[in-house]
């Protein structure tokens, strides 16, 4: 195993713990709530970073996948099957842990699918839809691809806003907590905040490890070849259609997972999560993060989502994102956080240190 590749993750872990400790000791733990939400949103960003930065395919429909994940999970865990609870099938499913019984805040009994089952169902649905959409869509390029994915996102918005089972304009609320393990639960209750902070980061780090491994593998190199020139990649024997499709599906799965966890964390989801504006925002963040720079995208994903969730931009939020898009695409089309930045920074410090050392040596010589 290549240890060096995981060194930045160790640094990230230290920063994560550090932030938590600072927030706890300064009594500002409420910041963690927005960091948790930003972390789930950054799952979408990581997926989109693979798709846009590495495979070179734009998607203006990723909020759609986020919503597919969130809505599938929310629907399955809030649907009430109590009327058929006495039937044999329901009893069997309950015994197998697929259905579970709980009481809502009014004391009414609700029999619905368990969050784990809903989670897996959400991923399966997402994979199916991503394949179905991806096969025809990824044959397109440029403007055509952008418009086709935008159309897909709009269809999802229209469907969730117009269908009764998805709560129409209200969305779905009172989604139960997600018990990952009997002691670990994804929920927005403030006593579980620190626990949830680490759960969220754990999930992000899993996604990070998958992404980093993918980039540094045969697939990653193939993707970069596709990004450079699709014709050339095809000419040297890369199955471009397959690699593009797989990356598309993987990024959709990341987005859907983010949707599932955030829905359980917030206890609900609304149609605005699927809006085109959300998709555009994800694209904006990836553009600012430097497209193919996973760490830049993650950093910007956390930072910009955190600031938005804290209401830092006020009513100018969309203007800020539009402005960011234009400024970055005009002046820094490759982002501001360069992959080699840390190394060059370290080298600069070393050089400085070396100079100081030499100077000191010289002054000693002079003194002698």
């Amino acid at each position: 195993m290549d240890v060096k590749r995981y060194r930045p993750i160790a640094v990230l872990l230290i920063i994560i713990v550090f932030i938590q400790l600072i927030c706890t000791f300064t009594g500002t733990e409420f910041f963690l709530t927005q960091i948790i939400m930003a972390a789930y949103f950054s799952l979408v960003i990581l997926g989109l970073c693979l798709l846009m930065g590495h495979a070179g395919q734009i998607s203006l429909g990723h909020a759609g996948f986020f919503a597919i994940g969130g809505y599938t999970s929310a629907t399955l865990t809030t649907i009430n099957l109590i009327d058929i609870a006495d039937s044999g099938v329901a009893g069997f499913l309950k015994g197998a842990g697929i259905l579970f019984l709980r009481k809502d805040i009014y004391g009414e009994e609700i029999l619905s699918f368990s969050p784990w089952v809903a989670f897996i169902a959400a991923l399966v649905v997402t994979i199916l839809i991503a394949f179905l959409i991806g096969i025809p869509v990824l044959r397109l390029k440029g403007h055509y691809l952008a418009m086709a994915t935008l159309g897909f996102g709009m269809i999802i918005t229209t469907i969730v806003r117009g269908t009764r089972i998805f709560g129409e304009a209200d969305g779905i609320s009172s989604v139960p907590a997600f018990d990952l393990l009997p002691v670990l639960r994804v929920t927005g209750k403030s006593i579980y905040r620190i626990e949830n902070y680490y759960i969220a980061w754990f999930i992000v780090i899993i996604a990070l490890i998958i992404s980093l491994n993918l980039i540094n593998s045969r697939v990653g190199r193939a993707l970069r070849a596709i990004h450079g020139s699709e014709e050339a990649a095809r000419a040297i024997g890369i199955d471009t259609a397959r690699y593009k499709l797989y990356t598309f599906v993987l990024s959709a799965v990341f987005a859907a997972a983010g949707g599932v966890f955030l829905t359980h964390y917030n206890g609900g989801i609304g149609p605005s999560q699927s809006s085109v504006m959300k998709s555009v925002r994800y694209v904006a963040i990836v553009a600012v993060g430097g497209m193919d720079n996973i760490w830049g995208c993650l950093f910007m994903g956390i930072l910009l989502n955190f600031l938005t969730l804290r209401g830092f931009f006020g009513t100018l939020e969309e203007v800020v994102f539009g402005g960011i898009l234009i400024v970055f695409m005009l002046f820094f089309p490759r982002g501001i956080l360069k992959p080699g930045m840390i190394t060059s920074f370290r080298n600069a410090i070393r050089k400085c240190g070396l100079k100081l050392f030499r100077m000191r040596g010289k002054s000693k010589q002079n003194a002698a």
Partner: protein
């Protein structure tokens, strides 16, 4: 369905459709000279209408003059957008241009939001009031519908004449066919690009003004309109303005009659599904020629 109801649907279909056609032509003009799909196309329509409404509300500017001012201002905005954001970028990738025009659309929409607020506004009817109607073959229609059909028809015809018979129009067509060759003939290609943004903004603004009495105007109505316009441009084959007219009327009619089969909430889905189907099976558009599409990349 009785004949007069059919006619009612039909007329409302071609009214909406003619606006889609004008927006699609706006897309085509810019696409032909630059190869850019201007995602901010819908914003021109809304800006035009909003400016015109503001001028008419002052009370002392007559309606035709208000529309003229609105069109001129929007044309200026179109030119400014091209000069500030597009002109000086050398060899931009498509991805970059898409993102830039999306950014422009967001900023102009939000600026409109801050200036005009969220209220739904409306131009006064050009003739008559909201209740006056004309009876044609048993179907009653608002006089404004005739204005819309008439003016969009004039826009289409004038543009055709402009591109066919004026020197500037011919120069723009030359740029569309081959920019390098056009430059070698002494055509100022950069000027033509700015001009294409200006024409596109102008016809968008005019379309916004004439439909505002019927459809009403709100700051965020631009993007859905742009999507519809793009659908039409694709259905007809990108860059082909005659086909865009047919495509626009077709989409308007489909939307209008789709209310019979699917709930109103899903009306917009019809257009998008048509877009996806055409993109998947015939990206050159239903009127695109096979030989022509073989030369293009989709």
């Amino acid at each position: 369905m009785s004949f007069d109801i059919f006619l009612q649907y039909f007329l409302s279909g071609i009214t909406v459709g003619s606006i889609y056609a004008v927006v699609a032509i706006g897309f085509n003009i810019i696409y032909n000279t630059t190869g850019i799909i201007n995602f901010a196309q819908g914003e021109f329509v809304i800006l035009g209408a909003l400016f015109a409404i503001t001028f008419t509300r002052t009370g002392f500017i007559p309606l035709p003059l208000a529309i003229l001012f609105a069109v001129l201002i929007t044309t200026g905005i179109g030119a400014a957008i091209e000069i500030v954001f597009i002109k000086w970028i050398k060899n931009p990738s498509v991805l970059r241009l898409i993102i830039i025009t999306i950014g422009i659309s967001i900023i102009s929409r939000e600026t409109a939001h801050h200036i005009w607020g969220e209220q739904v506004m409306q131009m006064p009817y050009f003739t008559g009031t909201s209740t006056s109607s004309v009876i044609i073959l048993g179907a009653s229609i608002a006089p404004q519908v005739l204005w819309v059909l008439g003016i969009s028809g004039i826009i289409v015809i004038v543009l055709q004449l402009f591109f066919k018979f004026t020197l500037t129009g011919k120069a723009m067509r030359a740029c569309a066919a081959n920019r390098t060759a056009a430059r070698l003939c002494g055509i100022n290609a950069k000027m033509m690009v700015t001009l294409s943004f200006m024409i596109s903004a102008a016809i968008g603004a005019l379309a916004g003004c004439i439909t505002s009495p019927i459809t009403q105007t709100q700051y965020d109505m631009g993007s859905p309109l742009a999507i519809k316009g793009f659908v039409v441009a694709i259905v007809g084959g990108l860059g082909n303005s005659t086909a865009a007219v047919v495509g626009g009327l077709l989409l308007g009619l489909i939307e209008s009659f789709s209310i019979i089969f699917i709930p109103n909430a899903f009306k917009d889905v019809a257009a998008i599904i048509i877009l996806l189907v055409i993109l998947f099976f015939k990206p050159s558009g239903i009127f695109g020629k096979k030989e022509e599409s073989a030369l293009k990349e989709f």
